[in-house]
Amino acid sequence: MAHPILAARGVAKLYGANAARFVRDGRFSGTSEELAQAGVTAAVRDVDITIERGETFVIMGLSGSGKSTLVRCLAALTPPSAGEILFEDKDLNRMAEGDLIQIRRHQMGMVFQHFALLPHLTVLGNVAFPLDVQGMKKPEREAKALEMIKLVGLSGRESRFPRELSGGQQQRVGIARSLAVGPDLWFLDEPFSALDPLIRREMQDEVLRLQDMLKKTIVFITHDFDEAVRIADRIAIMKDGRIEQIGSAEELVLRPATDYVRAFTRDAPRAKILTARSIMSPPDPAADYAGVVGASARIAAFARKIEEAEKPFAVVDEGEVVGKVDRRAVIDVLIGRESADQAA
């Protein structure tokens, strides 16, 4: 396997006067009781993550779960109390400040929850800001910035100031700015939490569109499971500073590792998460099929087809029939009934 772009190894972030007591040789050790006794809070603990190049990795948790602290650690905005953050196998917290600055100038971008637009600069100035910081000449950086502004659909508003834009438009500026340097690793820290639900959806589509085009590695933070499901290749669910489970949306729904994850995924839109493979029954050689569906197709995509047909459909993976799906299996999913197979 290729080297991961970003990895966290045994990362912990402790707050409190006696925090140092629980870290030995850069490793964290201690139980919750010991921590409570010493008056130390562990915002993040025992986190191991490996993020592969090109994937969209979502960190999901409710407020206070430690997800914001974790992303600050991953971006080296806060040094972890224990453990290491490896960017392309280099420990971000051990490198010289100058090297870190170079990495951030060319390889990382970040979108912030409250946009973090500079009030004294225009849209153009804001998008060009990271390039300005690198010392790029004015015509060059403005050309690049205009390109980015066009990419997020804000052409014609270059000379507006941030406060003259709506929330959604402001975050588009934030996105354009974070992409201006052409980063490999793109952090989005609850980018749409401050937006209205309708705008939020639109912006999620925007991220999907951009990702389809640009193929970045994305680390996306959210407290919204639906958002995570729409965007993620893999999701890490956090609770009380720990990662409860990492997996695709489908894995989380089908095989929740803990009760917390089960509770979380119970009301998830299963039809949009589960694939044909997960609900199929063994193929019947003698069966008469009404048609075929791909093994990795989402149920929502083919539910209508199956509903209208009398006969079951064959599930095909690489040209081979691997199972069948019938009307009942689909209805089970849609109404949330545990099917006979899954119950077993």
Partner: protein, 669 residues
């Protein structure tokens, strides 16, 4: 009271209000008894602190300064050389500004002097200012600038006003830049803030006279010393504003800086400072106004300018001339204030579209101004405002004042003696009759009740300081004048504040008046009052009240007006009359804010009190002023510290009380 409230099981209703209130009643009674006691009832040291116990801080400081200037050395050069080098460096921009605005660039000395380039001629200056005013604040400001400067030229105040302006501009530049840097350093290193913060308190509450003297010794007699003193006085608000403004920049902006790979310097200068600019400009405005205030005072010790004109006029009882110069100060103050405020507003809301047009006007004005300047350089007589065009209202004002004095002398005199005999003198006697150990103990007790041991120790030690240095009676005279004028200011200011809080139309009028009152340099207030009431405590009282009443009005109005409308509605639904809503809801909730207003009033009263030394009060202000005249550094600084400590004791106690009230009501500051 908090102890009693924490124990609801106290036996009787009586004891629930008791501890706090009963104690203060007892303290009050004891105080009165102590004052009424015959002279020999207490040991003599309780009233008159023995000379033998005094700590000669004053002589120590003087000796130290002497050593510093005469013997201290860094090895290669002496401290004296060092400070003179600084003075020389600081003098450059000051001389430059004065050359530009007032004197012109001159080569040679005495009768050989040749003017190379004259100062900006008055008409060029007016063109420049109108253009700048228009560019920053629109047509209205442009016109104001034009008329204001024209007034200065027409009434013959031009030269002095330009000297003052040059000093103010240079001092403000240093003050704003220095304050910004110190503030940024405080944000970066918290320990520095802990050191700087008390120093700022002292610098703000200490009378200017007190540190003018050490400056004179360090930097030599001349305008540079005055400028350094001015900068020190004007710096603290800028530092505080910077700290608050930079801290208020959202954390995300800082993170953004890190994530885009900014160096520390880039984060500070490309992100934090520009983001905080609107707030910072408010600080700059304060720096400019404080600089003007001090420049006027400092010019009395020989820096020239409008302050000097006023002082000479007052000394020679040339009433008309004094009033004219006073009005010129007022005009200058208003113009500077308007301009700085417009700058602050503009930096908050950068205007597009219009801005290019305005920039063109600014550039055009600049070009025209420079062209006119060049023209004046070629034909120098043009640059001088013609004598024949000058007007003077001096005689007119003199006539008015003498008319008032002739016709109303007995009335004015009756008011003056009435207040003196019935209020001022009894309060003064009472204050002077208080034994010092009792006063210190009561202050420490108040500190303990309001803020625990630490506060008790701080305020107790501060109160003890005047005793130990042997300035107790002088300090009590200062306290007496402060108390009377603060009470009077509160009696006038709080009702006005309450009245205008609920009447927007009235508030607009009151606000305009209060704004103007706060804009004027403190010295201006003395001029008309001295003319009507001659010198003395009564004159000082009126001047102090006029100067210090503004915050009492403003804070009260603000506090009463911002009481949550829900609570007012709840009161109305419970059937409160308007009076009840005011008394039971608005006032109690506004009380912490009103207290802070009173606190500000005390600070302003103290700063004005020191100025009134010029009209012959006999308090600590006089002490610092005469120390200045006698070049006695130690004495001046010690007296100055006494004033500073009075202010700081009041500030600590009142802030603690307001904080406690807010905490109890669960209201955020």
């Amino acid at each position: 009271m908090s102890l009693a409230e924490a124990r609801p099981a106290s036996p009787a209703v009586f004891s629930r209000i008791a501890p706090g209130r009963l104690m203060w009643i007892a303290v009050l009674i004891a105080t009165i008894v102590l004052v009424m006691l015959p002279a020999n009832a207490l040991p003599a040291w309780a009233w008159k602190y023995p000379l033998a116990w005094q700590v000669p801080f004053g002589s120590w400081i003087s000796a130290f300064m002497k050593w510093l200037m005469e013997s201290a050395s860094f090895g290669f050069f002496t401290v004296h050389d060092f400070t003179r080098a600084i003075a020389w460096t600081l003098d450059l921009p000051l001389q430059f500004a004065k050359s530009v605005f007032a004197t012109g660039f001159i080569q040679g000395q005495g009768s050989d002097a040749v003017v190379i380039l004259p100062a900006i001629p008055w008409f060029a200056m007016i063109v420049l200012s109108v253009a700048a005013g228009y560019a920053v604040g629109g047509l209205a400001l442009g016109l104001q600038m034009g008329f204001g400067l024209a007034y200065l030229a027409v009434f013959g105040q031009w030269d002095s006003a330009m000297v003052t302006l040059a000093s103010v501009l240079v001092a403000s530049l240093f003050g704003a830049a220095g304050g910004l840097l110190v503030g940024l350093a405080c944000v970066r290193w918290r320990w520095l803030e802990r050191i700087v913060s008390p120093l700022l308190d002292v610098a703000q509450t200490m009378p200017v006279f007190a540190y003018l003297l050490p400056m004179l010794i360090l930097f030599g007699f001349g305008p540079v010393s005055a400028m350094v003193a001015t900068v020190i006085y004007a710096l603290p608000p800028m530092v505080r504003v910077t700290i608050v403004a930079i801290r208020a920049v959202p954390e995300e902006i800082r993170s953004l800086g890190l994530m885009t790979g900014c160096t520390r310097r880039q984060i500070t200068w490309k992100m934090l400072v520009p983001s905080a600019l609107p707030a910072l400009m408010v600080g700059v405005n304060q720096v400019i106004m404080l600089s003007l205030n001090v420049v006027i005072i400092a010019s009395m010790i020989g820096a020239g300018g409008l302050g000097w004109d006023v002082l000479t006029a007052l000394r020679s009882l040339n009433i008309g001339k004094g009033l004219e110069a006073g009005l010129a100060i007022t005009v200058l103050a208003v113009l500077l204030d308007r301009f700085a405020q417009a700058l602050a507003v503009r930096s908050g809301a950068a205007v597009q579209g219009q801005s290019t047009g305005r920039r063109n006007i600014l550039i055009g004005g600049l070009g025209l101004g420079l062209a006119l300047w060049a023209a004046a350089a070629i034909s120098q007589p043009l640059a001088v405002y013609p004598e024949a065009w000058k007007l003077s209202t001096g005689a007119f004002f003199s006539d008015i004042v003498s008319w008032i004095n002739v016709n109303f002398f007995s009335t004015l005199e009756a008011i003056r003696t009435g207040v003196l005999l019935n209020v001022l003198i009894p309060v003064k006697r009472f204050m002077l009759a208080l034994p010092w150990p009792w006063v210190v103990a009561v202050i420490a007790l108040a500190g303990y009740r309001l803020g625990g041991w630490r506060l008790a120790l701080t305020v107790g030690l501060m109160a003890l300081f005047p005793v130990v240095v042997g300035l107790w009676p002088t300090t009590m005279i200062t306290v007496y004048l402060t108390v009377v004028s603060v009470v009077l200011s509160a009696l006038i200011g709080i009702p006005i504040g309450i009245a205008s809080a609920q009447r927007p139309k009235l508030w607009r009028v009151v606000e305009a008046v209060v704004d103007t009152l706060q804009t004027l340099p403190s010295f201006v207030y003395l001029i008309p009052i001295v003319m009507l009431f001659r010198v003395g405590d009564f004159t000082a009282l009126i001047a102090i009240v006029l100067y210090a009443v503004a915050p009492a009005i403003r804070y009260t109005a603000h506090g009463v007006a911002r009481v949550s409308p829900h609570l007012v509605e709840a009161g109305a639904m419970n059937g409160c009359t308007r009076g009840q809503i005011l008394k039971r809801i608005r006032l109690p909730l506004a009380l912490p804010e009103i207290l802070l207003g009173v606190n500000q009033t005390i600070m302003l009263a103290l700063s004005m009190l020191v100025i009134t030394a010029l009209v012959g009060t006999r308090d600590l202000g006089q002490e610092t002023y005469s120390a200045l005249a006698k070049a006695d550094v130690g004495r001046g600084l010690v007296a100055g510290l006494c004033v500073a400590f009075i202010g700081m004791v009041a500030d600590r106690l009142i802030s603690a009380a307001a904080g406690r009230m807010r905490a109890r009501m669960g209201v955020e500051a």
